[in-house]
């Protein structure tokens, strides 16, 4: 166990590191300063790429070479995406996909 002071200092170190990763771009390219076009290009193409990354990041621990072969994840994502393409309601798609996933891993797989 860490002492209270040690724990607070550890939180501070973790918070500082986290904040640094979030603040670096804004420090390197401050407001009002002209950015190289390549940075603005990245700013445009990174959001879809990073959301794709985040989906994989969430699923990275999924075991695909042994039972259940990632089937619950695949099914739930398909339902979420399918519902969203069909109905276009943000909350319904997310709720349905999540409840399906919880049902699948708690009762079937």
């Amino acid at each position: 166990m860490l002492s209270g002071t040690e724990l607070v200092l550890t939180f501070l170190a973790l918070g500082a590191g986290t904040l640094l990763t979030r603040a670096v771009p804004f420090v390197v390219f401050p407001e009002g300063k002209k950015r190289p076009p390549i940075v603005d290009y990245l700013g445009k193409v990174l959001p879809p790429a990073m959301i794709g990354f985040l989906i994989v990041y969430c699923l990275k621990e999924t075991e695909v070479t042994a039972w259940p072969y990632g089937i619950p994840e695949l099914l739930s994502i398909a339902v979420t995406a399918g519902l969203h393409i069909w109905r276009g309601n943000f909350l319904i798609s997310i709720a349905a996909g999540t409840l399906l996933y919880m049902f699948l891993i708690q009762n079937i797989f």
Binding site: G15, G17, V45, L54
Partner: protein, 251 residues
């Protein structure tokens, strides 16, 4: 960081007092009303993950107060989970610092994509940068506030609500701990579902399709080659190289 958040709130409060016109109040209220529905999936996800964090902290011997303090000071889901192991080891703040850099290095990409949206918003920007988590980023980068809504308050409320959910979740988790009866196994999938939905929205715009596919393919390749524990940096390098190499074709 907490202070930055509080300062922003105080500034907003002062601003509110200075401008007693009803327009200002309506503006803030409208921004809240428009921002809130976008954060509902994060509400579910952060409560669930926050509770998980509080419970784990409790089992490591640190009560609800410590969980809340961690969430207030750090506000980063993955790093807080990873760091729990550090709290039962000898004091090593420098290690903690480098670990948080490594775990959160992907956030650098988020900042690069938020210049256009976060610049020009005044002091609130500092809080928005502090609170730029995966989930907040996924919403603010994908969603544009309606024309009649004040951008500044809209982005503030999304970030602030997400921050609040995370803190409340950690508190509940620390408090209830093992008493929780509800079988919540799998509820963290809500975040995967959130990213899926935002991804579908993004790739509906034709120009986003190829970058979206690049993100998925590069991250998958990195996971297969480097394994789940080391995929983050590999994926970032691959995504960056591919996007830069395809600049002429994607622009």
């Amino acid at each position: 960081m907490l202070f930055a958040g509080l300062r922003v709130m105080r500034l907003m409060a002062e601003e509110r007092i200075e401008e007693t016109t009803k327009d200002k109040k309506t503006e803030i209220r409208t921004a809240f009303a428009k921002a809130f529905p976008n954060t509902v999936p994060v509400l579910a996800g952060y409560l669930a993950l926050g509770i998980g964090f509080g419970v784990l902290m409790e089992t490591s011997g640190y009560g609800a107060g410590w969980s809340v303090l961690a969430s207030v000071m750090i506000f980063g889901g993955s790093i807080q989970y990873v760091a729990i192991t550090l709290f039962s080891q000898p004091f090593a703040p420098l290690n903690a610092f480098f670990l948080s850099l490594l775990v959160n290095i992907r956030h650098i990409f988020y900042g690069i994509s938020m210049f256009k949206k976060y610049n020009g918003l005044g002091k609130i920007r500092y809080f928005l940068i502090f609170a730029l988590t995966d989930e907040t980023y996924s919403i603010t980068s994908a969603i544009t506030p309606p024309d009649d809504v004040n951008k500044k308050y809209f982005y503030f409320f999304i970030s602030f609500l997400d921050y609040t959910y995370w803190i409340i979740g950690s508190f509940i988790g620390g408090l209830l701990g093992a008493v929780l009866e509800f079988n919540s196994q799998g509820i963290d999938f809500v975040l995967t579902a959130l990213f899926t939905v935002l991804f579908v929205d993004q790739v509906r715009t034709g120009g986003n399709r190829i970058p979206g596919a690049i993100g998925i393919i590069c991250a998958t390749l990195a996971t297969v080659i480097l394994g789940p524990d080391n995929m983050v940096i590999g994926a970032m390098v691959l995504i960056m190289v591919t996007l830069l190499a395809g600049r002429r074709k994607l622009c």
